[in-house]
Amino acid sequence: MSVFRTHVLLPVDEGTAQAGVFEVKRRLEKELNARQLLDEVKVLESGSVGIVGKGVILAVYPDRIYYFNVREEDVPRIIDEHLLKGRVVAGLAHAPIATMGAAKAAARGAKVGLTREQRRIVLDKAWTVDPENIDEVLAAGGYKGIEKIFTDKIQPEAVIEEIKRSGLRGRGGAGFPTGMKWEFTRKAPSAAGRTASGGEKFIICNADEGEPGTFKDRLILEGDPHRLIEAMTIAGYAIGAGRGFVYIRGEYELSIERLRKAISQARKYGLLGKNILESGYSFELEIRKGAGAYVCGEETALIESLEGKRGNPRVKPPYPVTNGLWQKPTAVNNVETLANVPAIMANGAEWFRKIGTDKCPGTKVFTILGHVEYPGLVETDMGTPLREIIFGYGGGIRGGKKFKAALLGGAAGVFLSERLLDVKMDYESLKENKAVLGSGAVLVMDEETSIVDMLFSIAKFFAHESCGQCVPCRIGTHQILDIIYRVRQGKGREGDLETILALAEAMFRSSLCPLGQSLVMPVRSALENFKDEFAMAIGHAGKS
């Protein structure tokens, strides 16, 4: 590997691609070549930095200088001034990422913006290495986790013990302890199934990210696919699985392509496949592409889909840990959950426990959306107050308006009012406040937003995504949609709100899977926290 004095990173995602990142890259390479700088300056495509709506982003390392909204014609200036003379191009550059907050602080008296300091574990390499180059990943510390396991001959039970001690909990929404899930799967007896031969177990990564407002898994997959491969290998080793599947939603073209490339590189390097690192352990990893069904994010529906069927959820119990894919013991973990595993194995459970809260150690990736100054994504400590996420990282409400509500956790989430702005963002604290962390999406609404209209949008989403298998969800979602539609049009009747709530609660008690069970969360929280607005909508303001 040659040594470059400077690295120029170009984060590639849908936004920057649209803004012309590839044109900028071509120009950059052309201009560097003309100045014979190609062996000094390395240009590479990285994963998204989580900053959106700022056009093409160009980062210069080790200087940690960020340029936003870069156009092709800016390239010669950046090269001549910055890369040759070491002078940051004023007017184009933004402050270094960690001290961006400080720069803004002077102006605003507070630390704001997505470029303020974050703590990154799962996205640690996602914007500093070329995700399509395994050498860079290895140089940056990739695959240290499995290296440690196989060099120190750590037994599968000890891996599970380490994950249990770390306190890692599922990041898909439910927050179930990962180590326990693995232990159940490892200990489950594997009876002979219908299709596959006996004795098999499976590890599945749930990358069917469909919760509205969530794109954390996409950024992990696009930015650091090797981390997921390493994590799946560790998980497979721990539970005793020889095969793993990554189920990715069909719309995530770039994620699929990057992971596919990463798998073939890992295989070439002996990090995947037969006898990994001479350990005697063999593991095969396959990608399976979804075809557009929100319900397949539910683990048993996902398993059905993986088997090539309609994504209808199964009745639980039995749970996948005993009766999963082809009725074999199966652990299903979310992308973000798994992405924590390599770092835990490399650095130890104690290190992980020092981050976040006592009951929810580690970090969480939050997507900040809606009426905020800086929409995007941050990874920060579990337990960070909501206020800091919205006003610190998100930069507050855009256009100088006032905060009205935040929808936490996506469509299957909870509406919070200003009263709960100081809640800590971890499973326990949110539960105490009748809220959920869900996928980590934070949709912010300003004072002009109609909560009735937002609840209508959510009801529409659920009615569209209900798989139709069980009656309460199939009928209930449409009934609720019809009523909210009427209320939104100003044709609400007395008793409508009580009916909506009763329907949602009945769905919670009787639906087969979390899809039907969770509509009650946005419904109840909207009706409770924004009571007056709904009362007004049906013309009974002040009466209740």
């Binding site: 719309e251 557009g292 809606g370 999406a441």
Partner: protein, 152 residues
């Protein structure tokens, strides 16, 4: 012929159904699955035709009707809704003269709705074929549609 080639890449087990349907649809210039496609998949994977039909109609990415050259998918999930996706939808309906699930008579555009595309940072957003368009306004939509029409 093309169909056989696709099928042969897979083992004849039922779990490959989704992948087979994806590949067949991608190979079709009209972006859909024909009845012959479904029957071929059923035969090869040893599944009942009704089962294959059930799967093909369950998932939103598959279509059993021919679709236009440009597949427009408008995100209507709550984050895009909050930032005005209904205005965007209405504007598209007005410009194209077709509703959701329909194709223009010149077979140039098919309008569909989609759940979250995962690009909420640039909401409201839509996807045309494999490209995402974000921060949409009425003007931007007119520009994009006009551009695609002129590209003919």
């Amino acid at each position: 012929m093309k169909r056989d080639k696709i099928l042969k890449q897979y083992e004849g087990t039922g779990d490959n159904l989704l992948a087979v349907l994806h590949d067949m649809q991608d190979a079709n210039p009209e972006h859909y699955l024909s009845d012959d496609d479904l029957r071929a998949a059923a035969d090869y994977l040893k599944l009942p035709y009704s089962f294959v039909y059930g799967v093909a109609t369950f998932y939103t990415m598959y279509s059993l009707k021919p679709r236009g050259k440009n597949l427009i998918r408008v995100c209507q999930s709550p984050p895009c809704h909050l930032l005005g996706s209904s205005t965007i939808s209405l504007e598209l309906i007005r410009l194209l003269g077709v509703g959701f699930g329909e194709t223009t008579p010149d077979k140039l555009f098919t309008l569909e709705m989609t759940s979250c595309l995962g690009v909420c940072g640039v909401a409201p957003a839509m996807m045309i074929n494999k490209r995402v368009y974000g921060n949409l306004t009425k003007e931007r939509i007119a520009e994009v549609i006009e551009g695609l029409r002129r590209a003919q």
